[in-house]
Amino acid sequence: MAYQIKVNGTDHSVDADEDTPLLWVLRDWLHLTGTKFGCGIARCGACTVHMDGQPLRSCTLPISAVGTSEITTIEAVEGPEAKAVQDAWVAHDVPQCGYCQSGQVMSAVALLREVPKPNDRDIDLAMNGNICRCATYVRIRAAIHAASEKLGG
């Protein structure tokens, strides 16, 4: 059936089965491919998007559960936290293969919006749902601290 969902500020009508995960709607219906598939069972974080500002694993949220919530993906994440995080990611050359990094950035932005000056434990709690098989964790941590400082946190 057709679902009305709001993604990156735009209303979309999507004709999909009710159990279709938001991840595949974003990727295969809307061609917003920045959000990645890594596991499909909410264990890797590659598919992280924001739903009403909160980080969410889109691979296990069926389209029927999106309702009127606003979805934001890596393509449209913006604001001071997003800019600080992405600038820090580049300055620290965080990415290796890069495949997990959309999800890492989305989780990091959500963290800094919630906790402007995170300590290492805050970072562990907010980021441990995001696997990086290239193990760029040392730089992810450093970049989050740097972004926080840049924001005056």
């Binding site: 219906w29 491919t33 598939f37 495949y99 441990n128 290239c134």
Partner: protein, 718 residues
């Protein structure tokens, strides 16, 4: 040079330093990669595109999946070209073995941590030639002598006539000039980019931080079908028959076809393909399937290791001696199957029109994949095109000796018929259950300690070879696959009474090289057992090693460097923590590490910090070297502590990250890296960070009142 001369492993190929020493038969009959006969191409027109906007785009022959070959190639070119870093760009070169062969392997391929090692001289010459051609073009235009022209940071100038220009305005004219036969390369003392910290930044960081980088899974083309394949649950099983009635009822499922590796489900989108596969009824032919479990295989391997094997490496031709007098120490090490689990599972796009095949995917052995695809379609290699895509990691997984993924991709396209573009995607379960693992290995050791010294060393290794019977078999010599025992057959330590033997084990379970290949298991077994013997001999882990390294100055130097970095004062670190040491040479690079470990929650080891010293010859990008050490260490910590693909009844018992436990940020140790300065030829960094980590952790545990774990992973699932 013929096949009989090709005797080198990837490791020895690198050490051999001579170009063009490897070659092998491609799966496509009649097409032979004549590595030996292939001259190194240094034509700027093959590797560089200079735009009217002054951008310099390097066509990089190595696949970029994280290790930084794009940035490295651009750095080397920019150095010799005297370009400004801001004008540098990179993209993948097309598949074309005549232009883009790996100078060590003779085919277009990335692997063995060889990207910089094998192309360093080549890229320097390309850059220098391009510079000479731009200078000549400017000289012609300005009617001045080339020798009077300077190039600096992308600006071409002639002082006397006060003329200045940029690359873009001379690029066209330069590209039409004859290629200079001889060029003078820069004196390394004059380098401003190569080996200079923070002189360049990675070319791919921005696109990868904003979701703009395009991977294979992101391809969408009009009319494209998304395909998943149902693979057999047991290794060695074959597809027999299927009933697609229910699968075809799933909205969006278009077709189901039998192919060699299973049953392909074609759909309009990924979710429909997954649901269709779930609804598919399959029958497998298990007549040739594996039936054992991991435990049974270890028992079989242990029984095999009780018998003498084939001797390799140091002293291999000497008759075996009886063990000398002294204290006999025995140990065994059991290392499980490991999946690479790159973050992006295997995937590929293919458009076959009956006359040509156009593939887009993260191809790591382009020439082998091209040959394999051609064979499926019955097309000559020049009708097979591969666009190499950025890939979400590999760790060895995309370098397939049998080109199995390229074959599956081609069969999927062929089965549905021409002019139907397909995107084949493996799910995480396909990936983790899908084999091509780091082989399961068993090590048996006997050592004798007498008079405070190591008096004898005996090691028997049992495991599968993925070279044997593959198109890469020509890398073997005299029936010996050097990968099975590399790192164990010749030690960094002078131990006179030394013997290493191996047995091959066979199984239909498919195996492959996994980040640092043989060193993944020999590094662990050898460095743990050596440490055990030094402990028995009452020697300090650092001093004891150094005393045996007189003939290995580079290994000794990294060990000293890491001991300095960590302020080594022995294994005890106080505070309930202990330190362990390990040193490994792999792919021509030397890496020593010290791990500081305690026992944390749930009795699990907690790795606090790893100090790392690396000598990889001349460095090109020091920050990428550090990043590769960090990443290699994290990869190694995660697998040593948590990872195993348990085999039950001939199939993988687990299939996703819920059970194939991956390292997470809260488990990542702090890492401190020192790069030991070297003017030796550049060697690899993608893999050599891995081998010392697991034994350094185990050796630390031995000083926390635990045994060095004889079976990995250290934290075993029950």
């Amino acid at each position: 040079m013929g096949a009989e001369d090709i005797t080198l492993s990837r490791r020895t190929a690198l050490q051999g330093a001579g170009a063009l020493v490897l070659g092998f038969l491609l799966p496509l009959k009649g097409v032979r990669a004549q590595g030996a006969a292939r001259p190194m191409v240094t034509a700027p027109n093959a590797f560089l595109r200079i735009g009217a906007d002054d951008s310099v785009t390097v066509l990089v022959k190595h696949i970029e999946f994280g290790q930084g070959p794009w940035t490295a190639a651009a750095t080397i070119i920019a150095e010799e070209l005297d370009a400004d870093w801001a004008q540098m760009r990179a993209e993948h070169a097309p598949a074309n073995v005549a232009l883009y062969a790996n100078t060590l392997m003779g085919i277009q391929a990335t692997g063995g941590s060889s990207a910089t090692a094998e192309s360093y001289d080549q890229m320097r010459i390309v850059g220098a030639k391009a510079r000479a051609m731009l200078v000549q073009a400017a000289a012609n235009a300005w009617k001045v002598k080339p020798a009077e022209i300077r190039v600096e940071k992308g600006v071409i100038s002639h002082a006397a006539s006060k003329r200045q220009g940029r690359f873009g305005q001379f690029a066209d004219a330069a590209s039409k000039l004859p290629e200079p036969a001889d060029v003078k390369l820069k004196d390394p003392a004059a380098f401003t980019l190569i080996g200079k910290d923070k002189s360049v930044a990675r070319l791919d960081s921005a696109a990868k931080s904003t979701g703009k980088a395009i991977f294979t899974i992101d391809i969408h083309e009009p009319g494209m079908l998304t395909v998943v394949v149902a693979h057999p649950p047991r290794f060695g099983a074959k597809p027999a028959s299927f009933d697609a009635t229910d699968a075809l009822k799933v909205k969006g499922v278009v077709a189901v076809k039998q192919i060699g590796s299973g049953f392909a489900v074609y759909a309009e989108n990924m979710w429909a393909a997954i649901k269709g596969r779930n609804a598919l009824k399959t029958v497998w032919d298990n007549s040739a399937a594996e039936t054992r479990s991991s435990d049974q295989m270890f028992a079989d391997y242990r029984a095999l290791a009780a018998k003498p094997g084939r001797a390799v490496g140091t002293n291999k031709d000497a008759p075996e001696k009886p063990l000398p007098q002294g204290k006999l120490i025995e140990a065994e090490f059991l290392l499980p199957y490991l999946a690479h689990a790159p973050m992006e599972p295997l995937d590929g796009y293919m458009l076959w029109d009956g006359q040509t095949a156009k593939a887009r995917f993260g191809s790591q052995l382009q020439t082998a994949d091209q040959g394999a695809i051609g064979k499926v379609f019955g097309l000559p290699m020049e009708k097979v095109f591969i666009e190499t895509m950025l890939a979400g990691g590999s760790f060895g997984r995309r370098a397939q000796t049998t080109a199995h993924f390229a074959v599956e991709l081609a069969e999927v396209a062929k089965a549905i018929g021409p002019n139907k573009p397909v995107k084949l995607v493996w799910t995480r379960e396909d990936d983790i259950k899908g084999g091509y693992y780091r082989p399961l290995f068993y090590h048996k050791f006997q050592g004798v300690v007498a008079g405070g010294k190591i008096a004898a060393w005996r090691n028997r290794v049992v495991g599968q070879s993925f070279m044997k019977g593959s198109p890469f078999e020509s890398m073997m010599h005299d029936g010996v696959d050097p990968i099975v025992t590399e790192g164990a057959d010749e030690l960094l330590y002078a131990i006179g009474d030394f013997r290493c033997e191996f047995h091959y084990a066979d199984s239909p379970i498919t195996t492959l090289w996994w980040r640092s290949v043989g060193h993944t298991h020999t590094g662990y077994a050898v460095e743990c057992f050596l440490d055990r013997l030094l402990q028995e001999a009452g020697q300090d882990p650092v001093q004891g090693r150094l005393a045996l390294m007189a003939e290995k100055p580079r290994a000794a130097a990294v060990l000293k460097a890491v001991a300095d970095l960590a302020g080594w004062k022995g294994s005890a670190a106080g505070n309930g923590r202990a330190r362990g040491v390990a040193v490994c040479e792999s792919f021509g690079s030397f890496v020593a590490q010290i791990a500081e470990v305690s026992i944390g929650d749930n009795e699990e080891p907690r790795v606090h910090k790893i100090w790392c010293a690396v000598d990889c010859g001349q460095t090109v990008n020091p920050d990428i070297v550090r990043a590769q050490m960090e990443g290699g260490i994290g990869y190694a910590v995660g697998h040593a502590l948590y990872a195993e693909v348990p085999i039950v009844d001939g199939g993988a018992a687990i299939g996703n990250f819920d059970e194939y436990r991956s390292l997470r940020i809260n488990e990542m140790p702090e890492v401190e890296v020192v790069i030991v300065p070297s003017s030796e030829k550049p060697t690899g960094v993608g893999e050599p960070g891995v081998p010392p980590t697991a034994p350094a952790i185990a050796n630390a545990l031995a000083h926390l009142g635990r045994e060095r774990p004889s079976r990995l992973p250290i934290v075993r699932r029950v």
